[in-house]
Subunit: 98 residues, 2 copies
Amino acid sequence: MAKGSQEKKRCARIAAIFKTLSHPQRLFLLCCLCEGEAAVSDLQKVCGAPQPVISQHLSRMRREGLVKARRTGTSVRYRIADPRIPAIVRSMEKIFEP
Amino acid sequence: MAKGSQEKKRCARIAAIFKTLSHPQRLFLLCCLCEGEAAVSDLQKVCGAPQPVISQHLSRMRREGLVKARRTGTSVRYRIADPRIPAIVRSMEKIFEP
DNA sequence: ATATAATATTAGCATATTTTAATGTATCGC
DNA sequence: GCGATACATTAAAATATGCTAATATTATAT
């Protein structure tokens, strides 16, 4: 395999995750989950977007391994998939604060 | 101002930067620069993309404050804008390695 | 079994991003 | 100045993303 190809693959993988983080509403949802587990309806209230949009965002973040979900009766509660995620967002804020 | 609005603005700002990081080639270029300053022609060699594409990517990363540039004669050398950036990429790799 | 509440999925349209190709600018050596 | 090298910009075509609206699923309660 060509030199640097391995590195390019890693970048493609990470870039895909950055892309998932690159939507303001999606990142806001993730930040909400950084403060604890929440149901879709809770997120809908603070986010203020239509329910299908929230579901689509959450679904995508789950596919990418950023969040996890579990059912509780009729509602579904989401949470951060890895405890190291909040620190990354905070680091970004520190570096790029206005 | 409405509650959470401040937080939403921060998310929008950071999301814009994540978007800039969300392109495989762009992230690869940034990773190359993590190992030291490089001219556009150097990056073109390792990246293998057409020159205008490289320039567009670098231009965008410069606008977003991710990299800086300086002329050296007829060539332009780029470098990482903040020393904390490499650590973020490495953290992401650790969390999301296959 | 039916109704209701909560969440998920899908398709189609609108918009944004990426790529390609052509052209423009700046610096150096002659 | 002229040519050559290195890089930047632009416009238009191709592609990907996000939103809306409608519909489907899942679980609970009566």
